[in-house]
Symmetry: D2
Subunit: 109 residues, 4 copies
């Protein structure tokens, strides 16, 4: 089965980025989860005072770039967590989707 998600190049780029800044010493699991919490909080703040209707159109607004940045930050800290825990993300995601398929049977196929 081929990969659902390929993050090899991103992981290599992030490791080089961290190495050049001596950041591995900060990137332990609990620190990264607190950082992830911070970024999800920043993402939530963009959407906190707008309606569901406006939220669906947000990428047509002047907030689009901010959304792209915060979504990226969430992904980047999640990837660093995956890296320091040495998780095979593609395998983990496939296993979770298989669990979800059993937990939530399809209405139609």
């Amino acid at each position: 089965m081929s990969k659902l998600i390929d993050t090899a190049a991103l992981q290599a780029a992030l490791q080089e980025f961290a190495d050049q800044r001596d950041w591995d010493r900060f990137h332990n699991p609990r620190n990264l989860i607190l950082a992830l919490t911070g970024e999800v909080g920043e993402l939530a703040e963009i959407f906190q005072w707008i309606s569901d209707q406006d939220a669906e159109q947000i990428m047509l607004s002047d907030k689009a770039e901010h959304v792209r940045q915060e979504v990226s930050d969430v992904l980047l800290y999640l990837m660093r967590l995956v890296m320091v825990l040495d998780i095979d993300l593609d395998a983990a995601v496939k296993a979770k989707m298989a669990m979800n398929a059993i937990k939530y049977p399809p209405k139609h196929s």
Copy 2:
């Protein structure tokens, strides 16, 4: 420049999964951010009463499978958010990493 992250197959699988369950009606941006908050909370709970030292060894413990599941859930809701907002995640991540490289100059290369 080639991709840092390739999520095409994952996005296709998630769309099929959502289609088979009529889930697109639930997957609006604010709903997905609340769901993402929930999953980050579940991930945080695994690490809430353990030391930084034990956290670094968690994948050798009986909590490893739970960690893989929660990390996957965070990724899956983030991907659904990316999908409903029609964000080019690879481009967004490249742009954010370029910003970070300017904001945090390397100590050494």
Copy 3:
């Protein structure tokens, strides 16, 4: 100026509760913030798939008790954090509301 919020009895009850279970050793600031993140996540999950309209009526639904429990859990971990950091919560809240009053001038009084 009298108190805006009085938590003396709650703090005493929580300290007795923690003492009876030897929980002070777990209740350091970072642990409590991860626990707080977990509880906010559980609160968010209750609201993740419902409309703003249904959310406003949630206390009339069978989810009311769950909401009361999660709101309480958020408060309890926040109080424990206040306690281990020895913050005067009433003074902190008064100071923050004074800052907010300057930052957001009233439209009308």
Copy 4:
């Protein structure tokens, strides 16, 4: 049984504050939970790169005021949520602590 937590004055002050700014229209439950998520994220960010040891001494550092502000913001949005949902916070907290006392029996009294 007397109150464990008394927030009557704070609720009155917050309602006056909201009334003067026409903020009730923004303060619906899902908006407030997203705002709460944002504030917990800001609190988490203060603690993300420091050790558990430094975290215990943070109120002696130049970050003390920032911590007091973010703790207050978390409380204020939680209070607004309690207000719009018309929850009796003291009763809710007493009920939750009674549940916790059963779920986690004391080691010693």
